[in-house]
Symmetry: C2
Subunit: 346 residues, 2 copies
């Protein structure tokens, strides 16, 4: 009888603890971020740079954590987190974006709400301070999913978003990168007359030119969201758009499966519709999040000749951060508030 | 002994016939096309218009058939077929495209090769006579997948594609439609002050404003291809882009599964990544083409609140043309050369 009473007491106590953890929102949320994948090795990194990247990633994680920890939505968390990364000149998105061949900035971003499959994206915008907030406005206030160029900018201005002069996005290091790339191109062009082959070869030789930021989250209500933002490819021409603003390619979220944000050689992520494929491998083939993410990043993308990585979180709070490049700026934080940030493979 | 000889003779003859059919390319090819889905009913159609649509669809099928019947590729067939539909003022693509709110034409198109998952697309272009050929040039000659706006136009011009003055695309009937829509908007705006709700409601009330053309094909080599082209949504604002140029949403092809071209309320097709979903339902859930296509068009799209249809062909030559609207301009042709075109449900 005494032991039965003790068992009952133990059961009630456990239930109360569980309930309390739920009600304070301390349970079951997770935020994962990336700041781009590529040829990122210890040899090429100064100690000072490494510290700057790590602190920046941690700052972004903290901003999202505050929202999730106070019971906020995954949608608010991924937007706030990506805004911090957009405002940081270290990353190729918002301030610090790479330049086009013509010396301009053309930004792309997308956001998706796993709860209702609402989605918004912008491509080729030049004066919107935070394209991820532009994407969110498209999702919530335009009746559309994708707006591009001048039209997208007019919409953002009407919606009262922060509009800046294009010079806001300028950073010396990105400008220098562009000049180097143009110089390399010019030498190449003197050797081979510019032709189709050169264009295709140029596109192939861009391992170090990519960069993207992104965030995925699961909130205490069990809702998933994903957001991605980028300046695209350095020295890009002809209004090139990568996978970031393409729903299903670089960005996707569905409460039934997972939320995903990709980074890498965008053309391959579009052709393989990578983000939706991860979700479908879970939904239709019953793969785990980790297996589904690895199937795309470690197998399908390199098989086709591309590279990159992704971050993903599922409805149970499992997360994956696979990449097939030397490094990927990445990090995660859960309800325990311990931020973990990583750059290299080990 | 005599019967064994006869059996052997029969076997050899059959093999030779089968081989001959293969080598003359008379076997196993199919081309399916659409010219848009929507409120298309017998009541709203004159006999003359119906005949014009049917003749136009048949002409497009014949062009693709000639290519496929002489052993040409599915890629060449879908491009040639879509070009014919783009050049036809009856359909909302190329000449005859609908106008934006500002009275301009903004065209989107995509093409995909199921053999190697190569893909190309253009969005928001205003001077390229045949955007589907623009998309093909992007796929084959840019090293990229998606180009937008002025950049895409500069690329097309450099590649020697047909460039036209925007006035080329003008048709009186589309202009009149725009004026009607603007008048309706103006009345609505006097009643409700323009606000977010109005924008979203406007987007909802566009059943009759959509239109798209597309083609999918299987060639005698067993290769699949898909192409889609559109002027988008009449009276569209803010550089809106629909599902057509989004690989995986409105256009997709993969020799392992099927080739797909969608038409309808693009926002829903993007959010559901419809074309890739059909392919994944086949690849990962072993559904037939018909079942997979119906799962998306008769269930998922209307469940989310959207409407439209798609055409699809699989590697065995099975094809599907489901739609959840009153009608869809559509047709198919196989190696027997008999063109079948349909408009309404029955």
């Amino acid at each position: 009888m005494k032991s039965l009473f003790l068992l009952l007491l133990l059961y009630c106590t456990n239930s109360l603890v569980a309930q309390k953890e739920m009600s304070t929102g301390k349970q079951n949320f997770v935020l994962v971020i990336h700041g781009g994948a590529g040829t990122i090795t210890r040899q090429n990194m100064t100690e000072q740079n490494e510290r700057a990247y790590k602190l920046s990633l941690e700052k972004a994680l903290r901003a999202g954590y505050e929202i999730l920890n106070s019971g906020g939505s995954s949608l608010d968390a991924v937007e706030a987190t990506v805004k911090i990364l957009e405002d940081n000149p270290l990353f190729n998105a918002g301030k610090g974006a790479v330049f086009t061949h013509e010396g301009k900035i053309e930004l792309d971003a997308a956001i998706m709400n796993g709860k209702n499959l609402a989605a918004g994206s912008m491509a080729g915008v030049t004066i919107i301070k935070n394209p991820v907030s532009g994407a969110r406005a498209v999702m919530e206030k335009s009746g559309h999913v994708m707006l591009i160029g001048k039209g997208a900018e007019a919409f953002a201005a009407e919606q009262g978003l922060d509009i800046v002069d294009p010079s806001y996005f300028y950073t010396q290091s990105r400008w220098d990168s562009l000049q180097n790339l143009i110089k390399q191109d010019s030498i190449k062009n003197k050797i081979n007359k510019v032709n189709t082959k050169t264009l295709v070869e140029e596109a192939k030789n861009n391992d170090s030119k990519f960069g993207t930021v992104g965030a995925v989250a699961l909130d205490v209500q069990g809702n998933l969201a994903a957001a991605t933002s980028t300046g695209g490819m350095s020295n890009k021409k002809y209004g090139r758009v990568g996978d970031v603003p393409i729903i299903g390619a670089g960005t996707y979220a569905n409460n039934a499966t997972c939320a995903i944000s990709c980074t890498g050689w965008g053309e391959f992520f579009i052709r393989l519709v990578v983000a939706k494929s991860v979700s479908d491998l879970m939904e239709y083939k019953n793969l785990s999040l980790q297996k589904a993410a690895e199937e795309m990043i470690m197998k399908k993308v390199p098989q086709l000749g591309g590279d990159g990585g992704l971050i993903a979180v599922d409805k149970k709070g499992n997360f994956a951060m696979p990449f097939n490049t030397a490094g990927m700026y990445r990090g995660y934080i859960r309800s325990d508030g311990k931020a973990v940030v990583k750059i290299y493979k080990d």
